[in-house]
C-alpha cells in the first residue's frame, strides 16, 4: 500500500494508537423503553449544566419496530477539518474539544457532522459536543455504554 501523503496522516498532536471513544451496545440498551434516559439526563446536567436531556451530547432514539438508534460522536475529526478558526482540536486523549473563546459560531461543524452529533442549544452561540468523559457510562442502568480506546482515524479531506 502506498504511504499516505503527509496531510492525510493522523494529526501529530494525537496519539495514533489510542483515542477515547464512546460506544453503545444495543444488545443491552433497549432504547429507553425500560430506563429513564439516565445517560442523556446525566450528560445534560453534569457536563453541560442544563436541565434538559435534549441538550445532551448523546441522543437515544427508539424505533417503532423495537430497535434503537444512538446519536453518538465517534471522535472522527471531520469537524476539526472544516472548522475555520481552529477552535476544534484533539486533546491528548484524541478527543475533539472545542475552544469556545475561539469559536465564531458558524455551525459548519454541525452541518458537516455525518453522525449529527455536534449539538446546538438555542440559548448559546457556540455549539457543543461529546468529550468522551464517561459520565453517561456510569449511570446507564443496563451497562450499555462504555469508553473504549481505538486508533485515531486518518484525517479526511472534507
Amino acid at each position: 500500500m502506498p504511504s499516505l501523503p503527509w496531510f492525510l496522516s493522523p494529526e501529530p498532536s494525537g496519539d495514533a494508537s489510542a483515542m477515547k471513544q464512546l460506544v453503545i451496545d444495543f444488545q443491552k440498551c433497549d432504547a429507553g423503553r425500560n430506563c429513564n434516559h439516565e445517560c442523556e439526563m446525566e450528560c445534560a446536567i453534569k457536563v453541560f449544566k442544563v436541565d434538559d436531556p435534549a441538550q445532551a451530547a448523546l441522543q437515544i432514539k427508539a424505533y417503532e419496530d423495537g430497535g434503537g438508534h444512538a446519536i453518538l460522536c465517534d471522535q472522527c475529526g471531520d469537524c476539526v477539518v472544516v472548522c475555520p478558526t481552529e477552535a476544534l482540536k484533539r486533546n491528548k486523549l484524541g478527543v475533539v474539544m472545542i475552544d469556545k473563546k475561539v469559536c465564531v459560531g458558524c455551525y459548519m461543524c454541525i452541518g458537516f457532522c455525518e453522525k449529527e452529533a455536534f449539538m446546538r442549544n438555542s440559548d448559546w452561540i457556540t455549539p457543543h459536543k461529546c468529550t468522551s468523559c464517561g459520565v453517561c457510562v456510569k449511570v446507564c442502568p443496563h451497562g450499555a455504554l462504555s469508553i473504549v480506546d481505538v486508533p485515531e482515524p486518518p484525517v479526511r479531506i472534507i
Binding site: P2, P5, W6, F7, L8, V81, V82, C83, P84, T85, E86, C103, V104, G105, C106, Y107, M108, I110, G111, F112, E114, R120, S122, I125, T126, V155, I157, I158
Partner: protein, 741 residues
C-alpha cells in the same frame, strides 16, 4: 460529460505552511510612519445589522467625521452598493471625473454582512467613479475588511480628497482610535505590504485574524485598471490572503488619492455580533445549508475542491470557453488547465472560505509556487485560485496553457494590484492585434505578443508595474488602446472596434457570448459594464437550456440583474445561491431561480433586520437602487442606448476563420433563422447575412428588455417607473431623467 471524481491520493504533496517571508523591514517601516491626525471614538456593535453611522475621511484636509445613517437611507438604499451609490451621488457633480478630489471610494458591508452562520456572508461593496468608464463602478469583495469595519462601528467608509503624501488610514475598533499616518517607506506591492501591515498592527499572534488590510500594488499607479486587495488572515497557512475588488479601476483611484493602505483592527468575531432579531432562524437556515453543501457539492460543482475553476472543462465542452480573444470556444490543450489539474495543484486539506461560515469555501490556494520572473523571481509564494475567470482570461483567451505561468500571471496581477479579468481580456486583444499585424515588434517595443507567449505577457505586466513601454499603453485598457491604434493608423478601424472586447470602457469577462443571446444582453445591457455580476446567464441559457424563448431571455434580463443586485445591497456572495442546489431543485417551479435558496435569503434578511420581506419585496428593494444607478449613469453622460452597444465579436463571427470554425452551425442558422439557402454563397456573404441578423436580434432584445425594465427605448427610466419605485422623492433624480424624455 462525465462527472469528475476527486482522488485525494493525486493531490500534490506541497507544504502549505512554507513561503518566503517579508517581515524583515517591519521595524524600520514602522519607525518611518508619522501620525498626521488621530482621533478617538466610541466603538459599537451593530443592532439588527446596522451600526447606524458611517465614517467620512478626507485624506487631503485630514477631516474625520462620523455621520448618522438615516432611516430613509436604510429604507431606500439598504446598505452595501446602495449606500455607496448614495454617498457617491452626493459627493460628485456631472462634470466630476475619477481623478478629481471630490471623487470618493466608498466601502460598505451591508446589513447582513458579518453573519457567520450562512455561506457567503462577509462581503463588502466598493463604489467609486471609474477611470475606465467615467460612471460609477461597484465591486463585490470578500476578505475581512467590511465585516470588521462594521464591528468597529461603521456601516460605510467614505474616502475623499487627494493627499500629497502616501498615507494609511488605521481604524482600531478595539481601542476606539482612528489615525491617518504618513507611510513614506512602505512596500508597494500587496503581498509584501499587507503581510507587514498585518503584523505591524496586530498586538500579538491571536490578534492577527482581527486585522484586515485594503491595498493595491505598483501597476495600479501606472494604469487605469487598478484593483483593491482585501486581506484575510489564513490561520492554517499562517499567511495573509486576498480577495479582490477587481473591476473598473478602483485601485487606480486609491493610488491617485495617495492612499497606501486601509487597516482595520476589529474586535474578536463571535456568532452574534450583528445582533439579529431572530438568531434561531439564522442558525437553522445556516445548518441546513451547510448540510446541503456536505451532501451535494461533491456531485454537483465541487466548489470545495476546485473553486470556480470547475467550469473550465464544461465551458470548453459547450464551445463557450474564450479562446484567442473570444474567437473560439474550445481548445485541445484545455485539459492542462481544467479542474482535474487544479484540484491536484490546489491545497485541499485546509479551510478556504473568505469569511467565517463559508462552507462553499471556493477560495482555493495554490501553495509553493516559485516565481520565475519579475522583482520577486525566486520567491516562494501562495497564489489565490486560480478562479475560472483567471484560468480562462489569463489562460485560454491568451493561448496560455502552462499552469505554472498561469499561476505566475495570476500572482503578479494580484500583488501589482490589477484586475485579472481586465488584464486577460486586454492581453487577448493585444495578442490578436499582434497576430493580425495591427501591432508588431516595433510597436510593442520588442515584446513578441504571440498567442501563448507567457514570457512576453509577463514582461508586459512588469512594464505596467514600472510604468514603462508598451505595458503602460496596455494599462489604458481596451477602449483607449483601440482609439490609440486607430489614431496611429495601425489597422482597419472597423476590425479594431469589432475585436476589442469592451463596452462602456470596461473589458468583457470570460464567457463567449456569441452563441448566447441572453448573455449578450447580460453583458451589454448592464449598469456598470460587461461583467458577470449582474447577469450570469450563459450557463442557464446554453448548458442547462432554461431560457428557450426570446421572451424567457428578456424576462431573465429583467429579473436576474435585480435579483443579483440584492446580494450587493446586503453583503452576500452570489456563489452559494446556485453553485450548489437542493437535491430536488430541478423538480421545483422556476428551478433556474433556485427557489429554496431565494427563500433562505428572504429569511436571513428578515431575521437580521426585523423587516419582514417577501421574495417580491426583494426585487423591489433592488429595483430602487438599480434604477437609481441607471439615472446616475445618465447624469454622468452615459447610461443611454448608445452606451449599451456591444462589440460585434460578442454577437457573432467577425472573421472568416471564426465563421469557418463553426460553419455547420452558422450555415444551419441561415436556413432556420433567416429562411435562406447558404449554398453557393461565399463566406463573406454569409458573414454579412449573420451580421445583419445578429445585430437586428440584439436590437430587438434591447427593445424588449428596456420595455420590461420600465425604460424608454433610449434606455431611460420613465417617470412612471420612478414614481412606482418612490424615486420621485429625489428631485435631482427626476431632473436628470426629464432632460431625456
Amino acid at each position: 460529460m462525465s462527472q469528475l471524481v476527486f482522488d485525494p491520493s493525486k493531490v500534490m504533496n506541497i507544504d502549505y505552511t512554507k513561503r518566503t517571508e517579508y517581515l524583515d523591514g517591519l521595524e524600520a517601516i514602522k519607525a518611518a510612519h508619522k501620525v498626521l491626525k488621530e482621533i478617538t471614538y466610541t466603538p459599537s456593535l451593530p443592532d439588527k445589522g446596522y451600526t447606524n453611522r458611517t465614517l467620512y475621511v478626507n485624506v487631503d484636509t485630514l477631516e474625520i467625521q462620523e455621520k448618522p445613517v438615516t432611516q430613509a437611507m436604510k429604507d431606500f438604499f439598504i446598505g452595501g452598493r446602495g449606500f455607496g451609490l448614495y454617498h457617491l451621488w452626493n459627493a460628485v457633480k456631472p462634470t466630476t471625473r475619477w481623478n478629481d478630489p471630490e471623487n470618493e471610494i466608498i466601502i460598505s458591508p451591508g446589513p447582513v454582512s458579518g453573519m457567520t452562520q450562512y455561506a457567503g456572508t462577509g462581503k463588502s461593496l466598493v463604489v467609486s467613479l471609474s477611470p475606465q468608464t467615467d460612471i460609477p463602478i461597484d465591486s463585490n469583495v470578500g476578505g475581512f475588511y467590511g465585516p470588521l469595519l462594521k464591528f468597529s462601528g461603521f456601516d460605510a467608509l467614505e474616502l475623499q480628497g487627494k493627499s500629497d503624501k502616501d498615507v494609511i488610514l488605521f481604524i482600531d475598533g478595539q481601542k476606539g482610535i482612528i489615525r491617518i499616518e504618513e507611510a513614506p517607506t512602505d512596500p508597494v506591492d500587496s503581498h509584501v505590504l499587507a503581510e507587514i501591515l498585518t503584523h505591524m498592527y496586530a498586538e500579538n499572534e491571536a490578534d492577527l485574524p482581527n486585522i484586515s488590510v485594503v491595498s493595491t500594488g505598483a501597476a495600479a499607479e501606472h494604469s487605469l485598471i487598478g484593483m483593491l486587495n482585501f486581506s484575510f488572515y489564513d490561520r492554517r497557512r499562517k499567511c495573509v490572503r486576498f480577495k479582490q475588488a477587481g473591476r473598473g479601476g478602483i485601485g487606480t483611484v486609491f493610488r491617485n488619492k495617495r492612499i497606501r493602505a486601509l487597516v482595520v483592527r476589529g474586535p474578536k468575531v463571535a456568532g452574534d455580533m450583528n445582533h439579529p432579531v431572530d438568531p434561531e432562524t439564522i442558525a437553522k437556515t445556516g445548518v441546513k445549508y451547510h448540510k446541503e453543501i456536505r451532501e451535494n457539492d461533491g456531485t454537483q460543482c465541487m466548489m470545495r475542491r476546485n473553486g470556480t475553476a470547475h467550469i473550465v472543462e464544461i465551458m470548453d465542452a459547450y464551445d463557450l470557453l474564450p479562446v484567442h480573444n473570444f474567437q473560439y470556444g474550445s481548445h485541445p490543450d484545455t485539459h492542462k488547465i481544467d479542474s482535474s489539474y487544479w484540484q491536484q495543484r490546489c491545497t485541499q486539506h485546509t479551510v478556504d472560505g473568505c469569511w467565517y461560515g463559508c462552507s462553499m469555501a471556493c477560495a482555493k490556494g495554490a501553495d509553493g509556487l516559485v516565481l520565475k520572473t519579475g522583482p520577486y523571481a525566486g520567491d516562494m509564494v501562495t497564489v489565490d485560485g486560480p478562479e475560472y475567470e483567471n484560468a480562462a482570461g489569463l489562460g485560454s483567451n491568451c493561448g496560455v496553457f502552462d499552469p505554472d505561468y498561469l499561476l505566475e500571471l495570476n500572482f503578479y496581477c494580484d500583488t501589482y494590484g490589477i484586475c485579472t479579468i481586465t488584464y486577460g481580456t486586454l492581453t487577448a486583444f493585444v495578442m490578436e492585434c499582434y497576430q493580425r499585424g495591427i501591432l508588431n515588434k516595433e510597436r510593442t517595443g520588442g515584446l513578441e505578443l504571440t498567442w501563448g507567449n507567457a514570457e512576453a505577457d509577463l514582461e508586459m505586466m512588469h512594464q505596467m508595474a514600472r510604468g514603462e513601454g508598451f505595458g503602460k499603453i496596455a494599462g489604458m485598457g481596451v477602449k483607449k488602446m483601440k482609439e490609440h491604434f486607430i489614431a496611429n493608423g495601425w489597422g482597419d478601424p472597423q476590425l479594431i472596434n469589432d475585436i476589442g472586447m469592451e463596452n462602456k470602457g470596461l473589458e468583457y469577462s470570460q464567457y463567449m457570448s456569441k452563441e448566447s443571446l441572453a448573455q449578450q444582453g447580460g453583458y451589454a445591457l448592464t449598469n456598470k459594464g460587461p461583467q458577470h455580476d449582474e447577469a450570469w446567464l450563459i450557463f442557464m441559457d446554453m448548458v442547462n437550456k432554461q431560457l428557450p424563448t426570446f421572451e424567457d431571455k428578456a424576462e431573465a434580463l429583467y429579473y436576474f440583474p435585480l435579483f443579483r443586485t440584492w446580494f450587493g445591497l446586503n453583503g452576500f456572495c452570489k456563489l452559494p445561491w446556485n453553485d450548489v442546489v437542493p437535491a430536488n431543485n430541478s423538480e421545483q417551479p422556476e428551478a433556474h431561480k433556485v427557489p429554496e435558496h431565494v427563500q433562505n435569503y428572504v429569511d436571513l434578511f428578515s431575521a437580521t433586520t426585523g423587516i419582514k420581506i417577501t421574495k417580491e419585496d426583494l426585487i423591489v428593494q433592488s429595483a430602487k437602487v438599480y434604477n437609481f444607478q441607471r439615472v446616475f449613469n445618465i447624469r454622468m453622460g452615459k447610461g443611454l442606448r448608445l452606451h449599451d452597444a456591444a462589440p460585434y465579436r460578442s454577437l457573432g463571427p467577425v472573421t472568416k476563420e471564426e465563421y469557418e470554425s463553426r460553419a455547420e452551425r452558422y450555415d444551419q442558422q441561415i436556413v432556420s433563422e433567416m429562411g435562406l439557402d447558404p449554398k453557393g454563397k461565399t463566406t463573406e456573404e454569409k458573414m454579412a447575412l449573420h451580421r445583419e441578423w445578429r445585430t437586428g436580434r440584439f436590437s430587438k432584445l434591447m427593445d424588449s428588455v428596456y420595455t420590461r425594465r420600465g425604460w424608454t427605448l433610449d434606455g431611460v427610466p420613465t417617470l412612471e417607473r420612478l414614481r412606482e419605485l418612490g424615486l420621485d422623492a429625489f428631485p435631482e433624480v427626476v431632473e436628470v431623467v426629464k432632460q431625456h424624455l
